[in-house]
């Protein structure tokens, strides 16, 4: 047993092909950002899963609190007028 510390944790985001967003795929430990990219390439793109990698040290990610889920996201659910289906238009109108 050692008193060694773990390398920092990094969150990995991969763009699977041009035109798509980078998407979170998982995390890994690495001593620095360069190593995080190298490791992410070996771990998360062994079968052509990506063409671009972002790495962010996990401690810099600020997340919403799950306990606030209702107050944050509930207000949108009764605003049905934000959707096109809310509007009553004649059937004769073909494309709109």
């Amino acid at each position: 047993m050692s008193n060694e510390k773990d390398w920092p944790l990094w969150e990995i985001f991969i763009r699977s092909r041009a035109g798509l967003n980078h998407k979170h795929v998982g995390s890994l430990h690495a001593a620095d950002a360069e190593m995080a990219i190298e490791n992410a390439r070996d771990v998360y793109t062994r079968r052509n899963e990506g063409i671009s990698i972002w790495v962010v040290e996990s401690k810099y990610i600020k997340a919403s609190n799950p306990a606030d889920e209702e107050s944050l996201f509930e207000p949108a659910s009764d605003k049905i007028y934000r959707h096109p289906t809310f509007y009553d238009l004649p059937d004769e109108l073909k494309h709109m």
Partner: protein, 319 residues
């Protein structure tokens, strides 16, 4: 919110098949069970590299060698996905690795059996990865989000593992008399330990009921074992190998194969540390970790130096 209303909310989510995510409230026991199960699963992927790594330098052709290296490399990746999933529950990589290396943590007993011939590499891919896939396909629907996502990735990668193993067995089984005998011998030795991979029978499995209620597991040990037997028997027939179980036969009424009694005494003996390779596996893990220490330290020192340099440059620019 009170503990009891949070528990109610948690159970309601489980009921409605809504995944539990890292920062959601969860009962301590749920967290503990997951940490234990996911870290054991991770350790199994890592220790599982050892019996196969044993044959990398002696693979019979370049084709077999690149496939085996790719498979062993995948297993390292599986270990990483799973350690990361466990870390979202508040444990650390170091704690888990220390527990593995001290012998406190368990890993799948199957990896405490030796790989004596090249055919064992075929048998492992076919049977051991085959059994793992049945378990892991079920776990793709487990209730904890990060575990389920790791399983989806792993399952995508696993199917090549089983196919490469079965191809090795098929080639040997259709080869010379000696090669066929080698394949049969490997099947004889790996069959029963593979059935044990699903864990003790349902009536003796102490964690099962709660894990099923929390939808960590979705099928019982015996159900999974039965699907493995049903899937594997026709595969053995196809390559003319004989499963070493005189009681194995199709049961028309059940619509499943009946099979013989498993030697649970052997299973518990290996779990307790007395299998043929338990000691060797732990020694190999500890040795690799100890010998890699200077590399980890050098990388950390280099990262620190780079960070200081960057800071110096930034200060110079600012002033």
């Amino acid at each position: 919110m009170s503990e009891s209303s949070m528990l109610k909310r948690f159970e309601d989510k489980i009921q409605r098949e809504i995944k539990i995510e890292p920062r959601d409230w969860m009962p301590d026991e749920y967290r503990k069970t997951l940490v234990r199960q996911i870290s054991q699963h991770a350790h199994s992927e890592i220790v599982g590299m050892l019996p196969e790594g044993n044959w990398v330098t002696r693979a019979p052709s370049m084709r077999r060698k690149v496939a085996l290296i790719a498979k062993v490399q995948d297993e390292a990746g599986h270990g990483l996905y799973l350690y990361s999933a466990a870390e979202t529950l508040g444990t650390s990589r170091k704690e888990m690795i220390d527990d593995l290396h001290s012998g406190k943590a368990k890993y799948s007993s199957i990896f405490n059996y030796p790989t004596l011939s090249w055919a064992d590499i075929g048998a492992i891919g076919w049977l051991v990865d085959g059994a793992a896939i049945i378990n892991q396909v079920m776990l793709c629907r487990t209730s904890y989000g990060p575990y389920a996502r790791a399983m989806v990735r792993i399952c995508k990668e696993e199917s090549f593992h089983q196919r490469q193993g079965y191809e090795i067995m098929l080639t040997l089984a259709r080869g010379s008399e000696e090669q066929k005998a080698m394949a049969q011998d490997a099947l004889n030795r790996w069959w029963w330990p593979s059935l044990m991979m699903f864990g003790p029978p349902d009536h003796e499995s102490k964690h099962s009921a709660q894990s099923m209620a929390w939808k960590i597991k979705r099928k019982s040990n015996d159900e999974l074992r039965q699907s493995f037997v049903d899937a594997t028997v026709p595969q053995a027939k196809l390559i003319d190998l004989v499963i070493p179980d005189p009681d194995l036969k199709w049961n028309e009424d059940r619509g499943h194969y009946d099979f013989g009694e498993i030697d649970w005494e052997e299973f518990w003996n290996v779990v307790k540390g007395n299998g043929p390779c338990n000691k060797q596996r732990l020694e190999a893990r500890n040795k690799a970790h100890d010998e890699g220490k200077w590399v980890r330290e050098a990388a950390a020192a280099f990262a620190e130096k780079q960070a200081t340099r960057r800071k110096d440059v930034q200060q110079k620019i600012a002033s």
